[in-house]
Symmetry: C2
Subunit: 224 residues, 2 copies
Amino acid sequence: MSIDPNTNIEISAFKWVPDFAQGMVRDMRIRWALEEIGQPYEAVLYDATQPRDADYRQWQPFGQVPAFDDGNVRLFESGAILLYLGEQDERLMPRSPQAKWETTTWLIAALNSVEPMLMTIVMYDIFHRDKDWATAARPAALELAEARLKSLSDALAGKDWLTGQFSIADIMMVTVLRNIKHTDIINGFPKLAAYQKRGEERPAFKRAMKAQMAPFAEHEPQPA
Amino acid sequence: MSIDPNTNIEISAFKWVPDFAQGMVRDMRIRWALEEIGQPYEAVLYDATQPRDADYRQWQPFGQVPAFDDGNVRLFESGAILLYLGEQDERLMPRSPQAKWETTTWLIAALNSVEPMLMTIVMYDIFHRDKDWATAARPAALELAEARLKSLSDALAGKDWLTGQFSIADIMMVTVLRNIKHTDIINGFPKLAAYQKRGEERPAFKRAMKAQMAPFAEHEPQPA
């Protein structure tokens, strides 16, 4: 099974975001998956500097991006959208039960056992960088994040990709690891640094990045 | 399709955990789902006070519980295990594509858009309660958590369950909301408080709770 090439896929994304978020917004995950399988899509762009309206919240109740609509299903959460795409194209998720569920497992591990620990560091370093408590809180957060990265690095030993073949689990994990690219934490885990680089060097990743970045230049706020 | 009643399901759980974690360990989610469909299982108990060994980390690389094995697949992450069970029994996840993917969406939303914000509060209140920085950091975390709970409450308006029928999305979201039961935050969102209570009053929830708690009394550490 693969996606009907005549399907009209729409995803939501932002017109512009500040520097630290450029290339990091989560529509990257969906763009990357769609580029891997050569599936066209349309990005519906929203103004990140304004609250999302009630109409958008019918599509995405938290007001985040991405949301997804292909005429068959309408959903949100990058993890759910990747699972949906994976179920439709075996280049994104293998078909044997054990391999399929291992892929699902690692995608969820990225979202719940790794990303929250990395986002705590992002919160302290970027969103609250001017607060003394953020500086004081950081060492405990770093310790927890590094423990998770150590386990992840051990689990990846000897493998190019989390489940042996490239999949949505890797799209998720690589984009999760990129959250802390403002730090050198990942360099403490050479296997993970190499894994992240392997992901970022895929042509589909590069095309997805270019597509996310394209509107930002055009919509950059002008000084008043 | 439903689970072969002769399948031997094994999940990992803990012999004993401190008071604050009793009834909260994530094997609750799997026990609850299995109780909903009347599926027997065996809990393989580990000592939470000792590091998990290399054998266990082959099953669960982060050393957490639950991990799952039914002889067909071997996986971990409560979210992935619930999705696996949902795919096998429509009492846990409806079958129409839109309903199935909405269920998946809400399960992931619970894990990535709600739980991390609530766990930050748990970290400050429980794991770092003696630190001045935790007290100073809490208001910003509370603001973010409450924003997510407000969106969730709005999305739930008029519905008993997230997708209309009870599903694995509700098992996940109710157990996620229970993370902050040491606070009165949820009472600021009466729809969510009622939703959590609806979940906790299900007979399957109560049986799962009893099953998780049973070994704790037996294995409670004795004063030296």
